[in-house]
């Protein structure tokens, strides 16, 4: 990078790099939706509310102990526990033969969790500090990623890599995938499918909590609705990616993040959701099952 670069290029570089960091968070949250979709064959509409509960726990732990990392660890554990509790003691009791009762229970859960948080912690925004500076690095006079953005990207990459290894290289991952694709066949091979579904929920909500935790310092602060917009955009990204594909969630998350950043920078923040909606519409018109949907099975 040289100092002669025009302000237009500087602006583009800044918007692209910011978009990547936001996209990484979106991709993580979209991945959490894909994991739960695979496990339960349903979109979890309570994902945002379930993700924000562990963030409050992290906030409380960090405030009390002074350690961001302890808060982060507590958020992951709380997310996993919340996923297990909601799946075992709530959604498993709901009739499974059609998705509607589950969706309605999930929406009810959103109200209970968000109202509960507002009662316990108050409805106000609470400022949350990032563990690293949010002042962008200056590379040859051009503002690029901040140290915190870099941290977000690294965490997202590590988590994605970890899931890739888990799903593709381990017995548990093989059982998770088999249980998702063919529950009865999996049971006939000795796989404890209900346990795999619970595990899927635990992984999903812990991942969603991590995404929300990474997002909160870059926004207005922590409130019970802090992850709602993240959920909407990540849901769009997950659908664009194919809803069943972790790779699709990653790619679409980054694309949606960069798109929203560019539109916010060149047009206005209010236009960004419309751009995401337009992208979603185009993708669904061209490829109704999403960009990375599984190929059709051979029938002959």
């Amino acid at each position: 990078m040289t100092p002669e670069m025009g302000p237009a290029v500087e602006r583009l570089v800044f918007l692209l790099s910011t978009g990547l960091a936001r996209g990484a968070v979106l991709a993580l949250f979209a991945l959490s939706l894909v994991i739960v979709y695979r496990a339960a064959r349903a979109v979890n509409f309570a994902q945002a509310a379930m993700a924000i509960v562990p963030v409050y726990v992290a906030f409380a732990v960090t405030s009390a102990s002074g350690s961001y990392w302890l808060g982060l660890a507590c958020a992951l554990v709380t997310g996993a526990l919340l996923g297990a509790v909601v799946e075992r003691w709530l959604l498993r009791l709901v009739p499974q033969d059609n998705p509607l009762p589950g969706i309605i229970v999930a929406i009810g859960l959103v109200m209970v969790l968000q109202a509960g948080l507002a009662i316990a912690f108050g409805p106000d925004h609470r400022p949350v500090h990032a563990p690293f500076s949010q002042r962008p690095f200056d590379v040859g006079g051009v503002s690029v990623l901040s140290p915190y953005d870099l941290f977000v990207l690294i965490v997202a990459a590590v988590v994605m890599g970890g899931f890739a290894i888990l799903f593709n290289r381990t017995s548990i991952g093989l059982q998770l995938r088999a249980a998702a694709f063919a529950p009865e066949t999996s049971r006939l091979l000795g796989v404890r499918v209900p346990r795999m579904v619970t595990l899927g929920w635990m992984l999903s909500i812990a991942t969603a909590a991590l995404a929300a935790l990474l997002l909160v310092p870059t926004g207005l602060g922590l409130d019970p609705h802090a992850a709602d917009v993240l959920f909407v955009n990540a849901f769009a990204a997950a659908v664009i990616g194919g809803l069943d594909s972790p790779v699709g969630a990653l790619v679409a998350g980054l694309v949606v993040g960069v798109l929203a950043s560019l539109v916010t920078g060149y047009a206005s923040a209010a236009t960004a959701p419309l751009a995401v909606l337009a992208l979603l519409t185009v993708v669904l018109l061209v490829r109704p099952h999403g960009l990375f949907a599984a190929r059709e099975a051979r029938t002959a």
Binding site: S171, R177, E184, T185, L188
Partner: protein, 242 residues
């Protein structure tokens, strides 16, 4: 390896009339028993009930004298029971190798470690040459014959004590059927595997079985040595309709 005993088994779907009425059957250790009968005789229901996929209303299922009736499907598999269900039950989203590995995860009572699993999978590739050539292909790209081979290999690789098969020949070319049944017979002879084989392909099934059991409307109506059943036109006509 194991004896499967079915005592007074009654099974029905929903509130309907029972499909199986107090069915009694013993599949002896190392025996290969052909389960014959027309559509609707209750063959599939019997096999699914033995695996715990359809609950029994009454009666018991014993494996070497141990009552399995209250165990879940997964636990029955871990005790040594295996079913190759109707319709080429390959997980089409997974590759051939992944399907086989899934079959190795839970062996009777104990988990096996890496090298033993690899060896078991290698053996299956030797038995089913077409699978070895397509080991990294996704299940949905396999032909019908290859899928049924994979379903059988995946059951065998888990080294079950009792193997149940639901119409493995359905919709397959005669040559493929002959090959599959041949492998089944050889495996049963080599390992002492106990087999209960439900089939519409009576000739094929009786050629590998040592006993034939005819099911009609949920009850056993004939139980004879396979050769006798295959050779006696009157029996065949009365029970099997040809």
């Amino acid at each position: 390896m194991s004896t499967l005993t079915i005592e007074k088994l009654t099974v029905g779907h929903g509130d309907g009339a029972p499909v199986l009425h107090g069915l009694e059957l013993e599949v002896p250790d190392g025996g290969v028993v052909a389960l014959l009968g027309a559509n609707g005789a209750g063959k599939t229901t019997l096999l699914r009930s033995l695996m715990g996929l359809v609950p029994a209303r009454s009666g018991r299922v014993l494996l070497d004298g141990t009552d399995l009736t209250r165990l879940s499907t997964e636990d029955r598999v871990r005790r040594g029971l295996a079913l190759v269900p109707e319709g080429r039950s390959v997980v089409v989203e997974l590759t051939v190798a992944e399907n086989l590995r899934l079959g190795t995860l839970w062996k009777t009572g104990r988990k096996r470690k890496g090298p033993a699993r690899e060896a078991a999978v290698g053996q299956m590739y030797e038995l089913f040459e077409p699978l070895a050539r397509r080991r990294d292909a996704a299940g949905h790209t396999l032909s019908g014959g290859e899928r049924q081979m994979l379903a059988l290999a995946r059951a065998l690789v888990g080294e079950p004590d009792v193997l149940l098969l639901d119409e493995p020949s359905l919709g397959l070319a005669p040559l493929v059927v002959a090959q599959l049944l041949g492998v089944l017979r050889d495996q049963a002879e080599a390992t002492g595997l106990t087999v209960l084989l439900a089939e519409q392909n009576v000739t094929g099934a009786l050629s590998v079985a040592d006993r034939g059991v005819v099911l009609s409307l949920g009850e056993v109506v004939a139980d004879r040595p396979a050769a006798e059943l295959a050779a006696d036109p009157a029996l065949r006509h009365a029970y099997l309709g040809f």
